[in-house]
Point group: C2
Chain length 248, copies 2
DNA sequence: CGGTATTTTGAGCAGTGTCAAAGACGGTGG
DNA sequence: CCACCGTCTTTGACACTGCTCAAAATACCG
């Protein structure tokens, strides 16, 4: 039972199937993918900026993030990945990664050779489409981040991010609307929303003081979900929607 | 000859082929896609936030952009599209658009029914993969924008955007490194880089004063490309790379 | 229990935004 | 061809958000 659930390929199938309904043939093909499982520590690099990408990682446990270092030395996090999400479907079409991918917590990954994924997609169009759809969902989130960072002030920006995490965790089947474990330091959150750690901290305090959340290291308690949602200008419509069936 | 070149489906084939090499069968299938051509004025909406998406647009002439309105009324532009680029491969997997798509200039589009694209991709895996790869390239640009807006100051941010446009235009076969027509008002550019029009204007002036560029309405002359590149912390590696062949 | 990483607070400052008005440009109608 | 008008750009003065630097307080870990 546990092996069933924790089988990485099963997780991948479920995930893709939520994007676009797969046939039994598709599923069977995915189940044949070669992979190896590894466990890595918090902070470990899966891919470094400028490195060759050989594998596509599937995050079976733990959290990860993608980041980019700019000229001045600043770091910007451009995606956060939650347990069960496939990584690096992104870099699959390029030889060299343009940013880093690291674990936010200790985590377990299934590494699938890039070539195997490409061959699978080439052989099964629905799988290619599901991966395309998965990337489409990710793009949608990244666009929202552009809007969030570009056009919302610090307080709203932080509130928005907290809402997004809650919503995505719920999507992943983890109850989070009342609060959740957020395995990020304030430094990391600051690099996600384009603020200074110091200023981020002040915004957290403001959110706490207004009774919307309560926070301890790594934990966010949401005391007033509607309020946080409203303040954060959060509308979940940019997130994943139910899969569409493809009638061929 | 002209019909050859301006045939929207030929443009689409070329574009996808740059992402991932297509076979003759794939090309033939694309050539059979139904489409209708329309010409629209500057500012016209292709899709509005919240609207149903029925077609996938291919921009044969002109420029377009995608934008999102946030709660406070601000607008953030999340993508700029150049002539020859396919639009809305993005929204193809969702019933309702989460942002608007508008023309930046008068432009011509080929509208291809969403269903036809989906059926095509389902029937030809390489085409699905090419579209996926195309979206991957777009995601890469949007990520860079997150880093640009989140972690670079106003001056660098603007310089970076100007470099990106030059590079993308060159990619599209338009000589631009010495200067180009940039069909955007300063208001629009400001909404792209997350600045106020007033402040954007000052940054433009600064770039002019330091001899890097010269600008007149809608035209950017690049006087010192290496200098602009350096100031703008611009490295083109996040942009489109040559297509990879798929050996199946 | 000590050492290190993280969070919190303070004070002062810089960068960017706001508001307002003047200039320039480009299109239109007479 | 000119005058007018609306849009876009430019400039100024000032306010405020968010950043910097520095230090203290707190949590975590061996």
């Amino acid at each position: 039972m546990i092996t069933e659930i924790s089988n990485p390929l099963r997780i991948l199938i479920d995930r893709l199937n939520r994007r676009l309904v797969l046939t039994e043939t598709d599923r069977a093909a995915i189940r044949l993918l070669p992979f190896k499982t590894i466990t890595m520590e918090r902070g470990a690099y899966l891919v470094k900026e400028g490195e060759q990408v050989k594998n596509c990682g599937l995050l079976t446990e733990g959290f990860a993030f993608r980041s980019k270092i700019v000229g001045g030395g600043g770091r910007q996090i451009t995606s956060i990945y939650m347990p069960g999400e496939p990584l690096d479907l992104h870099n699959i079409f390029r030889q060299v990664s343009t940013h880093s991918l690291q674990l936010l917590t200790r985590g377990t990954l299934a590494l699938i050779p890039r070539e195997a994924i490409l061959a699978l997609a080439a052989a099964h169009s629905r799988i290619a489409m599901a991966m395309w759809a998965d990337m489409s969902a990710e793009l949608s989130v990244v666009r929202e981040w552009v809007a969030n960072i570009g056009r919302r002030n610090a307080l709203i920006r932080v509130a928005h991010l907290l809402c997004e995490f809650a919503a995505r965790l719920e999507d992943a089947g983890i109850r989070a609307q009342a609060g959740y474990l957020l395995p990020m330091t304030q430094d990391e959150i600051a690099d996600t929303v384009g603020l200074t750690p110091v200023h981020l901290n002040r915004m957290f305090k403001k959110l706490s003081d207004s009774g919307l959340i309560r926070q301890r290291r790594g934990t966010i308690l949401i005391l007033d979900w509607p309020g946080l949602r409203k303040l954060g200008d959060f509308h979940s419509d940019y997130l994943l929607k139910p899969a569409i069936p493809v009638t061929q």
